[in-house]
Symmetry: C2
Subunit: 289 residues, 2 copies
Amino acid sequence: MSARVAFVGLGVMGFPMAGHLKAKGYDVTVYNRTAAKAEEWVKKHGGKSAPTPAAAARDMDFVMTMVGNDDDVLAVTTGSDGVLAAMAKGAILVDHTTASADVARKVFGLAKDKGIAFIDAPVSGGQAGAENGKLTVMCGGESAPFDRAKPVMDSYARAVTLLGAAGAGQLTKMVNQVCIAGRVQGLAEGIAFAEKAGLDADLVLDVISKGAAQSWQMENRWKTMTEGHFTHGFAVNWMRKDLSICLETARANGAHLPVAALVDQFYSEIQAMGGQRWDTSSLIARLER
Amino acid sequence: MSARVAFVGLGVMGFPMAGHLKAKGYDVTVYNRTAAKAEEWVKKHGGKSAPTPAAAARDMDFVMTMVGNDDDVLAVTTGSDGVLAAMAKGAILVDHTTASADVARKVFGLAKDKGIAFIDAPVSGGQAGAENGKLTVMCGGESAPFDRAKPVMDSYARAVTLLGAAGAGQLTKMVNQVCIAGRVQGLAEGIAFAEKAGLDADLVLDVISKGAAQSWQMENRWKTMTEGHFTHGFAVNWMRKDLSICLETARANGAHLPVAALVDQFYSEIQAMGGQRWDTSSLIARLER
């Protein structure tokens, strides 16, 4: 009999991730705050839906959550209808939300008290990675449950790595976001500079993207940035949530993040320009006002 | 009979570039300010050396220059012993130095008055690219001489592109440097953050470098950055020269470069720490003090 897996949170990421689990033959039960989305998922993929996170998690071998932020993670895990209220001893809880390491450690501790293993497992690769099953999963927790949960996560990932104790997955995701923040701004400054200098920005980017200036962001975003289209990718509001976690963590452990802090402020300007839902590449919009 | 080419400036870039020309069968004459270096080149590659830029450039079909900065470019091209004093009408002058677009336009005009074509042609790819003949060359100038000079530059390049009128090559190189500056700082912040958070930085970088945070800088520098080795690549003093050109140009044309300006200041701190000759990845050193 195949393992039973609950998936809580069917947003743009969770919906296809849960679909990959079902396609791999797992016995999947889903929960979503907006029930219509769960019904849509069941209609498309089969499986079952449940009225609460706890109801979805009952008798499951694995419970995966993919929700919005720290408060959402706490609600669906430790709340009165949360999954920990129903999970059996020996079951494994995996949270794919990008959240704080503090919350990861808190849920880890509460789960451990009940004999349940917890793995913080934020992902990178975006909506496209979720849809084509090629996410990178960065995990924190203990190695025995990680080894059991890895084949499940492999359903929607091309790399699943344990990076340390509880919270290490979240911290690694923050490193990822810190590395990217300065890069998107640099790309925006480069494109705006090229346009102000009267260059053909498309031709310039085509040339420099073949050298050491190459990056995922340059390859995948420069055309839409020069065209001013910001409706396709990771939203500014979500990036600000991630950067807020990065900056709070850095404040606590004495790390210096001057460019990440500056870029976070630039994103606040984008929000003020009405760009809460724009893609993160919209940083160029404030340079071109 | 093969074309005659003069190469002026045999530094870490020019020395191997001139060598590639000789290996391709061009009739090469070199000049270098420190004559011993020119003798070393002749001993290794054959060809001839000359006592002044003008002497090297006399009767040449093509003259390539690769020197330090704006003043050096003006000295070897427009100075009393500069190449323009000796070049024949119809010959082509190519400057590979990373210099200002203003100087490129100035030399272009002075050359044009003498019936000589000028192409500003800064490169990317670094010392390794020069040595293995895989530079990217970004050109500004007129198309007819560009078409004639391109096969010569192909000797040491994998891509040679005309990006617009005089100065367009230099402006494109500046776009390249602007895109890279924020990225190296972001990478430094990410690594320092990982270390402060108690993560295994090598493991973290290995994981995130396979996702959207991937970049040339991450792939080629994170190991040396975590080890604190900064002696292998493009020097801080040279990056500050490039960023100074970027920032002056931006001031003149109204472009905003907030992160490039901030990173330029960080590099001034690295210089004050004694890191004038350190690699640009040494930005991490000021985060780890």
